[in-house]
Amino acid sequence: MQTRRSQQPITIRSDRAAARLKLLTRDGRSQAQIIEEALEAVPLPAPEPDDRQRRLAALKAIVARFDPTTIPSMAEFDAREYDERGNPR
């Protein structure tokens, strides 16, 4: 975090926002206090889902669509499809 001295001042370009800030500081609060309180009032966006978790969820969602009762084990498939020399039957 920057020290307060090294922070750049904020420039309020909107006349409307500048006017509101002027009104809000009439009670003695500083501009910084007003802005900090305003920032606290704004809800934060939902965090981005972790990419690994997203991929895992996507994989599991697709795999859930398989009917496992109709899928042979690899050993069953190998015995049926490949001969004793490991070549396709």
Partner: protein, 144 residues
């Protein structure tokens, strides 16, 4: 998806373990979610054949969706080229079922073995076949 320091060659058996809900599939799910995946082209065919084995089920379409999902998330398909064929032919003398020396690998296994060997990557798989070779076995693999 992470880069090749965390890359893995996926065998059909790992994919079948997932879709058949075999025990030990959670580590395979995790490995697929966090690795840079290489799919040997023959594995795409064999996985399709396994899921189509009983016929008249939606499984082959779901298998295609699973492959599409993996590829959309960064998995790459490795073509079985001349170098792979030569490596598979060499390996057949040591590990092929037809070598008369007790080898365990069938022709598809030899293709996966050769792909992984050429790329210097571990194989994500289940079963004892690859573990009986000098291939690097990914730690998420199930060895029985």
């Amino acid at each position: 998806m992470s880069e090749d320091g965390n890359a893995v060659v996926v065998d059909t058996s790992a994919l079948v373990a997932l879709v058949a809900r075999e025990r030990g599939s959670d580590p395979i799910f995790n490995a697929l979610a966090e690795s840079a995946i290489w799919l040997p082209a023959p594995v795409l065919l064999e996985f399709h054949l396994v899921t189509a084995a009983t016929g008249n089920s939606p499984n082959p379409a779901v298998a295609a969706a699973l492959m599409a999902r993996l590829i959309a998330d960064g998995a790459r398909v490795r073509a079985f080229d001349g170098d792979c064929a030569a490596a598979a032919a060499t390996a057949s003398a040591f590990y092929g079922k037809g070598n008369g020396l007790g080898g365990l690998l069938n022709i598809l296994d030899l293709m996966v073995y050769a792909t992984a060997k050429i790329m210097g990557l571990p194989i994500l798989c289940t079963g004892k076949d690859f573990a009986a070779t000098d291939a690097i076995i990914h730690p998420a693999s199930r060895r029985d």
